[in-house]
Symmetry: C2
Subunit: 257 residues, 2 copies
DNA sequence: TGCGCGGACTTGTCATAACAAGTTATTCGA
DNA sequence: TCGAATAACTTGTTATGACAAGTCCGCGCA
């Protein structure tokens, strides 16, 4: 019924779902100021009329924008544009390089080690393999503007690890290579962080003093289907790096204070 | 039409939305093993028939479970239970006490300080106030099973801070008090983490040795409308605590393999 | 003047219906 | 026997319709 609607025709690809196109269109209007921060958006029924779509479609689009943090809704009042938004969807699972290059930093990875070996008990358990199954072990030092900021130990199932290009490991994130080159869509990661003191190995790798504070991050990344695909231990210099992100409040189920 | 359905009647409160009750029921069945990890759940139409609800309701419930990471869906195949799931939806903005009590730990807060004072430049900037505007400063040490795990410094606009009950600060999270008692729905938080060494103050507060590693978290929590409402510096003992959470890969626009 | 009540908005929930699109197993034809 | 078409599933998308519940404004009554 909305095939001839000019507004939606403007969007790049007709094949994608209607609500997705509407989401993008509204996102653009928010970003370009058509709907200014803290301003009220058209009501759901107005949007239905404007774009010739049903309310269920409008609500799906608005729901996505809400999840992305661009708008918020107040029952009985309306839908409003969120404030400027300092940093957007940093909640998202993102490689360190992805995040840094998005901010304009230059990242180089020094690959210290890259080889296959039998999985020890811990790695096997995390990756859902049997002890002794072949895994690829990667040890990298990441340099941000020539300064070492982190030491990263990575284990992948060897079947995946063998498909990584050693040369590209210097500049590209493993995440991107897994998704784009290996056809493994990523789903989520379980993360544990704590603070530790630098040991001998870390001192050398990160060029810091003994006893300097280091942030330790254990990250197990899963494919979209839930299979664990990438197990990492990351050590960040406490003095040179901050891990920043944004978390959203879960939709509150009634009042179970 | 589903008023007489026995399955849904088992749930505590009838007043809450149907899909929410269905979500909880399915969550229980997943947790108690009725639907085992990696097993297939009943199809959407089967669930419709089982509970006498429409597919739109079933899909909303399943969507919530998916967001919570308990299930995943494959187009054309079915809906499946995620693996064991070590820790759940910790992506959500959640108070420390909320998270710990959910895991069965006993939390006590020792309130060292609670008073109003003029905001300094940094606090004023973060909270969007003018320098010198009154803010409430709270200093707490959190004890988990009698052991100190964190030192927390909190600043709130005085208008909000005055509505907090000092007595309740001992056992309840500020987040919950803001939402339930002050009527301030929370939206998101911007977080920065790094590792530092314990100074004199931290040594005493957390009963650790000098130079012990401490995880430092700066957190600026915003209300649903984007207004900053709660600025905190948290210091966690590196040896006694891990910050754990889960992040999801950003939904890939189009080319999503 | 002030208070309450209702009407006109808003978003939230839910039902019914249909078709599209992806997966799997079966069946039929070469 | 092997392969392709197909039927029978699945989840994904969308429309239409209805009522509930929250907010706000103004009208009328005391």
């Amino acid at each position: 019924m909305s095939k001839s609607n000019p507004a939606l025709m403007l969007l790049p690809d007709a094949p994608s779902p209607l609500y997705a196109r509407l989401t993008e269109l509204l996102r653009l209007r928010i970003l370009d100021g058509t709907y200014p921060p803290h301003g009220r958006m058209p009501s759901e029924s107005e949007l239905c009329a404007m774009f010739g779509v049903s309310r269920i479609t409008v609500r799906q689009a608005l729901g996505d924008l809400q999840k992305a943090g661009l708008i918020f809704r107040i029952h009985g009042k309306g839908t409003f544009v969120s404030r400027p938004k300092a940093f957007q969807n940093v909640t998202a699972l993102e490689g360190f390089g992805e995040a840094m290059s998005r901010m304009g930093y230059e990242i180089i990875n020094r690959v210290d080690r890259l080889h296959d070996l039998p999985a020890d008990a811990r790695v096997a358990q995390k990756l859902g393999l049997a002890e002794g199954d072949p895994v690829t072990e990667i040890r990298r030092v990441r340099l941000l503007n020539r300064e070492p900021v982190s030491l990263e130990l990575t284990w992948l199932p060897a079947a995946l690890g063998e498909r990584l290009n050693r040369h590209e490991l210097v500049t590209r994130d493993i995440f991107l290579m897994l998704e784009n080159d290996c056809g493994v869509p990523l789903g989520h990661a379980d993360i544990a962080m704590d603070a530790v003191l630098a040991d001998e190995d870390l001192m050398q790798a990160l060029q810091i003093e003994e006893g300097a504070p280091v942030m330790h991050i254990e990250r197990l990344t899963h494919a979209a289907d839930g299979r664990p695909v990438d197990y990492e231990h990351l050590y960040f210099r406490g003095d040179a790096f901050q891990y920043r992100f944004r978390v959203d409040r879960a939709p509150r189920r009634e009042g179970r204070a």
